[in-house]
């Protein structure tokens, strides 16, 4: 079920340092395409083809992005968003894995909880924010709750499905050797389920960021989601686009980091 992976696995032949063309390989045209799009953006804004207060030239956006590096609001907002996303992600994942395994192994719990989980699962997270505000207010409790909720479902679903596919003979063998219940879980079930859990966790990373931004847009007073809206009101589209840029870089970095960790920690991933 590895779904949100990479576009790699393409025959990117390692080429010796040489001309740009050789180093980029087939991607040269892709990079040129992006350059062309950005150039068009720049020109359309400078020459006034698109007249809008919210269509700044690319160079202005880049300048705004660079000037933030010396310690601006964007980085502070980004840090707040990441802190929330990470906290919510951690809570949602732990609950997702724990309930996924427990429900996968215990029939009683399955009967008690699965229907409830399946009822709540299809609600798109933004829809629960308005009612939750009335109970949780608009602060971290709300945002972290929403992020945990969004994270929980893919992790739970994948873990649950993963546990179901654990080879019964493995468990039987463990039982024959009188391995304790906890040890079986830790040494047999968990490793066999890890690839599935990892796939769920990866889907959840992008969801966590999406929902963090959403909750800040709907009920924010800090964080990058709020910043985006605030900059619209402050007539600073350059900063708004710059914030989107930083967010894109963050998303990219998170995905990369995840792949590296996955390769390190679960070397048997994708070999089943």
């Amino acid at each position: 079920m590895s779904v949100v992976g990479t576009l790699e696995g393409a025959s990117s032949k390692p080429s010796a340092a040489g001309s740009i063309r050789r180093r980029l390989g087939p991607r040269l045209y892709g990079v040129l395409l992006i350059a062309a799009i950005l150039l068009f953006w720049e020109v359309s804004s400078r020459l006034g083809w698109i007249v809008s207060a919210y269509w700044p030239p690319v160079t202005k956006i880049l300048w705004a992005a660079i000037s933030q590096l010396g310690g601006g609001d964007i980085l502070v907002s980004l840090a707040a968003t990441l802190r929330r996303a990470l906290t919510g992600y951690a809570i949602g994942s732990v609950l997702g894995i724990a309930l996924g395994i427990l429900l996968g192994k215990s029939k009683v719990l399955r009967i008690a909880l699965l229907p409830l989980i399946e009822i709540v699962r299809p609600i798109p997270t933004p829809a629960v924010i308005p009612p939750l505000i009335l109970f949780l207010g608009v602060d971290d409790a709300l945002k972290i709750f929403a992020i945990s909720l969004a994270t929980f479902f893919p992790v739970f679903t994948n873990t649950f499905a993963g546990v179901a596919t654990v080879d019964d003979t493995l468990i039987q063998t463990a039982r024959t050797f009188r391995t304790s219940w906890a040890r079986t879980l830790l040494r047999v079930v968990l490793p066999a389920t890890l690839p599935a859990i990892a796939a769920g966790l990866r889907t959840a990373t992008s969801l966590a960021l999406v929902v963090a931004v959403v909750s800040e847009m709907v009920a924010g007073s800090s964080g990058i989601g709020y910043y985006l809206v605030e900059m619209q009101y402050a007539l600073r589209p350059d900063l708004m686009y710059a914030a989107v840029m930083y967010l894109a870089i963050t998303g990219y970095a998170v995905n990369r980091l995840f792949l590296v960790l996955e390769a390190r920690l679960i070397p048997w991933m994708g070999k089943t």
């Binding site: 007249v51 809008s52 207060a53 919210y54 409830l116 009822i119 709540v120 629960v128 308005p130 009612p131 939750l132 505000i133 009335l134 109970f135 949780l136 207010g137 608009v138 602060d139 971290d140 409790a141 709300l142 972290i144 709750f145 709907v218 009920a219 924010g220 007073s221 709020y226 809206v229 605030e230 900059m231 619209q232 009101y233 402050a234 007539l235 600073r236």
Partner: protein, 311 residues
């Protein structure tokens, strides 16, 4: 499922609220929108009036969102900046909020209907069959633009209202997705400078010139448990108001507003600033209530006088 959610929620709340709430007893959490109208509050903070009253104001800005009252109910804020229509709807639904203090009487001169130049939109009658943008459906802007249409010979039933966020209205106008918009100060200034757009009218002037569209409010429960804090808050706010009134047209005010709205100072210099209203005016609020009743926004009757906090 919400019971389950509530259980978890309560657990989370206990974990979070104990340390962050009890730590600093003299802190007031105030929900604000970074709009020039709030200059007196920011002045009070900047010049230490709240501090002198032993209050620490923790500002929670939200951008144009109508989450002030929901946030009060959810316990995130002690005091919220919100508008009269939201307050009246809340009270009508059984949410017990009280209006603490009003804001500069500038609404009438700052908020305008704008349209594309040369299309002959001058009155409500010209809007028949057209689309008008409001920031929030069934809220204050919507209510007053409908009344303005009626007063100037039109029929709101023949007009389509679309919810568009303030920053997007000008572009939506130019792209002809809407034909007119009821817009707030910053963007009215921008529209005034745009050769393609024009200012049609200032509806509040024609409908209810002394309207008080926005107030600070708190729940009755909070006020009763914190009478002293509320009194000190109002005292410091009053000094902020006095500072504001004394600095209209002066550099200190422009730079203060530019600072908290994050707007370019050149834009702020073009804004109009009006003196602060001294108290929440029950008569004005009754006019708003009656308009709401007529538009079907209020199902229960509301005793306006009981909504206003009396020191």
């Amino acid at each position: 499922m919400f019971v389950v959610a509530r259980g978890i929620v309560c657990a989370l709340l206990i974990v979070c609220s104990v340390p962050c709430r009890a730590a600093e007893p003299a802190t007031l959490r105030v929900s604000v929108i970074p709009t020039s109208v709030l200059a007196p509050l920011y002045a009070g903070i900047k010049y230490g009036y709240f501090k002198e009253e032993g209050l620490n104001i923790d500002l929670a800005p939200t951008a144009g969102g109508a989450i002030g009252i929901p946030g009060l109910v959810g316990g995130s804020y002690d005091i919220a900046f919100s508008n009269n229509v939201s307050a009246l709807s809340a009270v009508a639904q059984g949410i017990d909020v009280q209006l603490l203090a009003p804001f500069p009487e500038g609404a009438a001169d700052e908020t305008a209907v704008i349209a594309r130049k040369g299309e002959g939109i001058k009155t409500g009658r010209d809007l028949a069959g057209k689309t008008v943008a409001v920031n929030t459906n069934r809220n204050v802007i919507w209510l007053y633009v409908r009344e303005w249409i009626r007063k100037t010979g039109g029929d709101p039933a023949q007009v389509t209202f679309r919810e568009v966020a303030f920053p997007q209205m000008i572009d939506a106008l130019k792209q002809k997705q809407i034909d007119a918009a009821f817009q707030i100060n910053v963007f009215v200034i921008a529209a005034g400078k745009d050769p393609a757009l024009e200012i049609v009218s200032f509806p509040y002037r024609e409908v209810q010139p002394k309207v008080q569209p926005s107030q600070f409010l708190a729940t009755r429960k909070f006020i009763e448990g914190n009478k002293d804090k509320v009194a000190r808050f109002l005292k410091a706010l009053k000094r902020g108001n006095e500072w504001f009134d004394a600095h209209i047209g002066k550099d200190e005010l422009f730079s203060l507003v530019a600072e908290f709205t994050k707007l370019p100072e050149a834009v702020v210099r073009e804004m109009k600033f009006q003196p602060v209203a001294k108290k929440v005016d029950a008569d004005e609020l009754e006019k708003t209530r009656d308009l709401m009743k007529r538009e079907g926004l209020l199902k229960a009757d509301v005793d306006v006088k009981k909504m206003i906090y009396a020191e």
